[in-house]
């Protein structure tokens, strides 16, 4: 063994001992992610279910009862029949209902007479997502109802064209499947930098870093030993989260481990290097935490495509997302979990991650040399 290897081993052993005895660090690295993952997976849903919906029926006829029944039975809605226009509008204005289907005098008359009934759907647009669901479904429900009524009029017509929708990759359209990869990326993007940034900041505050640097160990050895140790911790956390996702949350896993392992290593390296960069530039633990949240968490939250589809974002934002590691990682996770090993999609993402990882680690080496010597 060369002296350099001996020093690296001594430093890595030191990190391992410290982490093993530091309950806070261990829970941040391992227990925290699992709890958060479960919380996110079961607590957060982008699906629209049981939106309170008012149905204003001005004049009750068999037709109105029939149509109202269509809304009543849909699991998207929690429908309430109302017969007072003022109260119904009030309920919409105060947010007690997310939408209002108005079946007034005209509807009853027109439905009977012409088979072409005017239905007014008022939607609370405050939450755009719910509003879209409500209006789409209401339109669909009315159209279906009309179609059924027409069909019922001339039974036996063979001209009707049926559509049978089929959703690929996430056949139940469960937002959980789509969210879990994003959450894993998000959690790793917070935990990785936080762990490494805090550890270095702490060493600075307590003066232990200086006492190490005054030995033959170089600043770069000091930093790279940390990087290596926290890589293994990060990979462990990542594996734990994947196990929980697949076996507890039951997210499908359609790909293989190979691209996943590669992506994980690169992603963890990116995050740790980011943390080390933060810790070199910040003076104390508090500053390190603040910087981690702004440079690690927020970009991962907003620019990874975890919640917000980046294809709709303006071009500059899309360019910006190219330097956010979680952007690539979340995409890789979604591909391997939900689709499979689609190398044409995976390769560019892996390449992007690799470039970022190399750049960040080189940045650590460079900054360490400039700042610490």
């Amino acid at each position: 063994m060369t002296p350099r290897q001996r020093r690296m081993i001594a430093l890595i052993v030191k990190e391992a001992r410290q982490t093993a005895r530091n309950r806070t660090a261990l829970s941040v690295a391992l227990a925290g992610p699992i709890v958060l993952l479960l919380l996110f997976a079961y607590g957060v849903s982008l699906e629209t279910e049981r939106v309170p919906l008012g149905i204003f029926v001005e004049h009750s006829t068999p037709d109105t009862r029939d149509l109202a029944g269509a809304f009543y039975n849909a699991h998207y809605f929690h429908a309430v029949i109302m017969d007072n226009r003022r109260l119904a509008l009030d309920a919409l204005a105060t947010g007690r209902v997310g939408g209002l289907v108005v079946l007034d005098e005209d509807f009853a008359r027109a439905a009977v007479a012409e088979g072409n009934a005017p239905v007014q759907v008022l939607v609370d647009g405050t939450d755009a997502r719910i509003a879209r669901t409500v209006s789409n479904y209401a339109e669909g429900a009315v159209a279906t109802w009309l179609a059924q009524r027409t069909l019922a009029g001339r039974i036996g017509s063979a001209n009707s064209v049926g559509t049978a929708p089929r959703v690929w990759f996430n056949s139940e359209i469960k937002s959980r499947y789509f969210l879990v990869p994003g959450i894993i990326g998000l959690l790793m993007a917070v935990i990785g930098p936080l762990l490494s940034a805090l550890m270095v900041a702490r060493e600075r505050e307590q003066g232990t870093m200086d006492s190490i640097l005054a030995t033959p160990a170089s600043p770069r050895e000091f930093m790279y030993a940390k990087l290596i140790f926290y890589m293994s911790l990060g990979v462990a956390a990542m594996s734990l989260m994947l196990l929980v996702s697949v076996h507890v949350i039951e997210v499908p896993f359609r790909g293989t481990l190979k691209p996943l392992v590669m992506a994980t290593m690169l992603f963890v390296a990116c995050n740790l290097a980011l943390g080390l960069l933060i810790s070199i530039t910040s003076r104390n633990q508090l500053a390190a935490v603040r910087l981690t949240l702004t440079t690690g968490f927020l970009p991962a939250y907003m620019l990874s495509g975890f919640l917000f589809d980046l294809r709709n974002a303006p071009a500059p934002i899309q360019w910006l997302s190219l330097i956010v590691p979680s952007h690539y990682f979340v995409s890789i996770l979604q591909t391997t979990l939900l689709v499979g090993d689609e190398w044409p999609i995976l390769l560019p993402d892996l390449g992007g991650l690799a470039v970022l990882a190399i750049a960040l680690i080189a940045g650590v080496g460079l900054l360490v040399r400039r700042r610490l010597s």
């Binding site: 030191k14 005895r21 307590q206 003066g207 200086d210 006492s211 005054a214 030995t215 160990a217 610490l372």
Partner: protein, 574 residues
Amino acid sequence: MTDAIVSAGLVKRVAGAAVIDQVDFTMPSGELWSVIAPRGGGRTTLIRLIAGLSRPDAGAIQIFGRDTVREATAVQAIIGYVPQGVGSYDTLTVGENFKLHADLRGVAPDIRPARWRHILGLSGLINLTDRRAADLPLSARRRLALACALAAMPRLLLLDELTAGLDPVARGEMLEVLRRLASDEKISIFMSTTYVDEAERCDGVVFLTDGRLVGRGAPRELTSLAGRRMRAVAVTAADRHATAAWLREQDGVIDVDVQRTCLKVITDHAGRKLPSQCAAALPSGPTAPRLDDAFVCLLHDRGVAMLAAPVLHPTTPPRPPSGSPALDVRGLAARQQGRVLVHDIELTVAPGEIVGLIGPDGPGKDLLIRLLCGLERPSAGIISIGGVDLGTDRRRALSRLAHIDSAASPYPDLTPLQILQFFASAGSQRRAEREPRIGSLLTELGLKGAAAAPSGSLSTALQWRVALAAALVSAPALVLLGAPRAHLDPLTRRLVWSDIGAVAAAGIGVLVASQATDDAERCDRALLLDFDRIAGPAWPAGDPEAAARKHPRSAALAALSAMFARPRHGRSAE
């Protein structure tokens, strides 16, 4: 033999400003040297430069003939460095910490056990090998950091404030260890300290101010130069502050240090005679100088202006109702978690009196201070501040008390003016009273010019003045000084004492908690505080052995009383 450290034309700039400016000195091999400087004066920067952790912008340092920049690796192999702070990993055990440093320094496995035993013995850590560093008391943690730095038996040890915050006994022991390392192991040691008594026991001293070298050399030489310019003037407790104020006004007097029984007067040159009235009225004679006296002379000769001792307007603080003491404590006792931490405390501070509460730090002392501040309730006894009972009229009693628990500015981001306005309005003073008081305090304490700057950017001395002004703005009857002075450099500590004198001269009672015998020398009365009770007055002191017998429960206190009993060179008039 080559010299251990040769610093030539050393310059280090941070953001354009020189934090080390043209520092030259030579420390011979095998000696123990210290660097003394105010906070921000360049202590740590100088040590980091010597350790090769930072590159000089100009000039060079040679360690045993090797350049710290060009031969960095060779230099690192022969130095041991203990940075400021704890310096060892708290979750690792003593043994693991040491092993880490031995591994990093490539100490061969076969010589390790013997080396380890040897260093354990030197640093006094025997039987602690398996304890985690976090569980050790501060003094043992510092010895652990020292042991780690010794792992490869360096030729030069660099120690940054190794003794900061330790009690006098632990500091004394640490210095013994260092002296032994220098004499028995032939290890050269360069350390930074804020304590004059430590610097006086070194072979050489480097004195920095604002990164510039103000003085260097053997403490004995430096003090003997100062000694020729000093006179001790005998005084009585009643008139010492007034006499000091008068003396400060006289031609050629650059500093008056007010002690219990005498004034130590420093003049601008050795031939200077004290004013004739003074010489006629008061017996005066030569006095044994301390190292901080030498620093005062050096600074004066360099033309560095020091803050003048303030004269506080005596009518500014309202005197407590006639006859009532600033502080009166009768039969005080208190417990914490069922344990009696203090009992039978009897304590009186008259208006204008400075009383010292001298003893090792501990839970009893902390609790006593919290009791006086009304933060804890006593289980028995009465505390009255400025004649108001703290137990029955808490608010009015506390309005007569000002507690200074840190010599730094209480809010570094605010300006002195804003801080005073805040403390005045928090003390519910009316605007009409507030403004003139703030104005006069700023002027009297020399803060006028700095009133608009963020107080955190001010010098150590000015920050202390901000803390003092914040305490005085509410016109207290009693000023209580916790132990805020541990990290102050000797000159700022001196300033603190001349300010305390001015506070007392303005009729305010002052209670000073301290563990330093130097502080006791400057009080009107000093009481020895054992762990849980007041053991008695510091004077008259008996012989050391009798003192040790008198306080068998506390080794630290026994040592303290022994220090009082020892003849002190500061009191040559006796």
